[in-house]
Symmetry: D2
């Protein structure tokens, strides 16, 4: 991964009521200040009359200082068009917390990607309710925090977890087969910033033991689903899904084994999209820009 | 499709309690009578202790007359091992009835396969509750029977349909996007012999308007499922499934369009397996031999 | 397919040397004349420094008359930015000629889509070098022209074919498993307007008998490729590909059977993209807009 | 992975000229000695008249001692039917050497599977021509051997590698993106026991820089292929392949990134099949039992 570092870019994600002239307004804003657009993608949800857009432009030679962009954009486009928007910069490296329990496959996969330089991300900590994966964390040089969770201690455990996230300035959380259900309060602190991997093709087989459910039903294809966590279990906006073919010869153990590969690939693709600031949520669904 | 006609083969499908010596018993039966095995596939469901097998052997030079095989097999293997079994002959051409409503894509696809010689099957009739596809049926030279169905006339309509099936000596029925729900009585006449195509990745989105449900949920993959019809709606044994990737750009109409291609391919694969006598049902699931 | 007819839209496909301000220039052109953008997609090939764009906007309320758009656009954007561009209107129905030989599956599939209203396209004629599919053409009510081709008569045959295409004002040609190689002269008359389906995953197994080649090589996946025809055999810009899993159990006949389904689906997707004016060719590759 | 250890099983792989009675002979051999068949799969290559079979039976209660099986089988079946066969026992844990260069993704993936208990395999050593992955090897506690290779030192380097393989009693070698071409002499020592992962959908894009080749050709799907190494580069028997969709938006770097996920999954599936003694080679192709 020996690329020359690309120069920094601004990344703008927008949604607003659809109307004429939106793309022209935004691209004109960028052009007037001498920005060179690297990528632009837009989408209109015709049923709901909502406009979505992601645009990325080079900061080099852009005539507005980085600090001045947000205010200028809001004046010139945001307010006039009632836009909801987020501005990111490509050289800001996001900070990710990894939550796990006992299963190692997603943890290994995520950490190997971070370590090899495939992803631009910091992982300041791993949080788990079991000791099992401490050696894995340590082999990657990442601080491991054990926070046991029982029905009785759940409130304190989440308080401790939230404290850790604040302390380490965590931007988003990845649940890498973390087997606990987060409380609505916890979730509300990281809206659209907690990514879960569920080991089924949602909405089929939500909840517990999806591979057992899949085997029982006799499906010919299994799946995995990565989604943002919301207060309704396994019902948040879907970021990515993939599937794998199975046959009557596959016992539950085989589904579990084949499913692990799906889980890690689907979770990784979702994180990749999130890291690239390519995901917008709307109406409990996602717009995932190309 | 200019093959030389292969000589006729016997096709035996078996399931029974698992125990030692089952394969040896069956293959020995065939060998003793000088049969040449063309294909053998077996499977053991270890959880339920059930043995499944499909074996196909050449009738040429087999020392038992075709008419004598069933009785001999039952004496020598069936009864001693408490087998449930079915015997077919590869040169018996099954007779299929096609039920449809207004949508043409599966009907065209099925009939084109029949006409081109891809499948060895007779289609003595098409039954529909609407007139729309009569010209399609006629262009393929297949008798078209209009049997309108309303809540009030459903009993008589099914009686008429059953009469048609008997009259035309139909072996199995294909519901090619036939929009009516069959009564338990109708279904009980053709157990494991009515094949439906449902336009979702079951068990997700059973019932009505699955593409609308899929769009509403924001899935990234849609599917189609072919299954044998049982009295519980969209819950029968699954024969075949496949999926197709969609994005936020796909409106419901796009899901419908992409889904049509899935539906016809998945239905065709299920019919192909059924025609080859490769499907065994057990515990509301299928064993689909290779 | 009971949609209310959408109002007509202009569809503009552009490529030009990449530089700052291109999107702003085009969207400003549209906005100034009160056009409402329905869809915009763009791409920059950073290696070659080439910008690609497709934009579609409503003609209703657009202040330029349909006839005046081309000239105005060329003045205001095309010439200043050295753009190569094509302008289409969504209500112009393209005219497609279908070339076939003896195999029926793609022909049935294409014609069923046309007849069901899935595609907005006219099919004024079918051309074949064999009589076999005349009944299929006739059952869909489409004039069938037999143009036999032998090495000796190829020049005259192509002259006759070109005459038919001109006479029927054909916009583009689909080779639906048409088994003849077209001459460079023929191809040059319809650049990027002849769509072929090749029964392999190109560039593997170009040329004759690809399923035999695939079986011989022992691949575990077969494919089909739809591409624009160029003078180099099976080497034109790829529009669409798909694959299907096979095993050692699949004989060449099975590859042929499974491959037919791939061929018709892949060809149909390529035609769909072409009909939507979503394909741009550059450097022997395609940009296929979403 | 807390399974109760299944009792040991014998695994027999056979191929021989096809003739009547082969399955009966083998299953009778097992039944006569009171073996309980766990799995049986067979295949006939009708073109070449070759019979293939894999059968697995429980050793518990089998009346032949483990050491006596080979001779007895050869007497009773092997010689009479001119079989070529291999006998394995499920409780013999194979020993795998991992060869790598600088790329870490396959190495991490393979080692994580070994460590988590997904695979029953010993990895006594990792061999590399570069130092880069020493820390990875060490974090998994596996001895790492640097064997640099240059054109001038290749002969000595291979001699050193072969010595290491012998010393560590290695059964098979996995090339996890090992960037060196092995000599015919080296390959001949481990026939059908060196597994390579090639980063293309073979036979397309054999040789160097397949992602560059794929991008240049403008394919819409990329692939990866795992195969046994033979003396002809990238031309050995294919064990497993898989593919991933790409678009014009994907630059070479994106193909490399997407391809890495394919490579590790495809390699892992091939190793899984090899570990299960499910692969037979014949005529430069594989029979991969289910």
């Amino acid at each position: 991964m020996n690329h020359t570092e690309p120069s920094a870019a601004a990344q703008l994600l927008i949604h607003c009521p659809d109307r004429q002239g939106l793309i022209a307004a935004v691209t004109d804003f960028i052009a007037r200040h001498q920005g060179n657009i690297l990528d632009l993608d837009q989408h209109v949800d015709a049923n709901h009359g909502v406009f979505f857009m992601r645009v990325e432009w080079e900061l080099e030679r852009f005539r507005l200082a980085r600090e001045a962009i947000a205010e200028a954009f809001d004046e010139e486009c945001g307010k006039p068009y009632q836009m909801r928007w987020r501005l990111h910069f490509s050289d800001e490296v996001p900070r990710m917390a990894l939550f796990c329990s006992r299963l190692s496959h997603c943890v290994y996969d995520v950490l190997a990607r971070c370590q090899s330089g495939e992803w631009r991300v910091e992982v300041p900590l791993i949080v788990s309710n079991h000791e099992d994966l401490r050696p894995v964390a340590e082999s990657f040089g990442i601080p491991f925090h054990l926070v046991p969770v029982t029905p009785d201690t759940k409130v304190e455990a989440e308080a401790r977890q939230l404290e850790l996230l604040r302390e380490h300035k965590v931007d988003f959380v990845v649940l890498a087969r973390y087997m606990q259900i987060l409380s609505p309060d916890f979730i509300s602190r990281y809206p659209e910033r907690i990514i879960n991997i569920h080991h089924s093709f949602l909405p089929a087989f939500a909840g517990a033991r999806p591979y057992h459910q899949a085997h029982e039903r006799g499906v010919k294809i299994i799946g995995a689903t990565s989604h943002y966590v919301t207060t309704e279990l396994d019902a948040g906006p879907i970021i990515e899904q993939d599937v794998s073919r199975v046959t009557h010869k596959d016992a539950v153990d085989d589904l579990v084994r084949k499913g692990r590969d799906l889980e890690k690939i689907v979770l990784a693709r979702a994180i990749w999209k999130h890291l690239g600031r390519k995901v917008l949520c709307y109406d409990n669904r996602t717009v995932v820009f190309g």
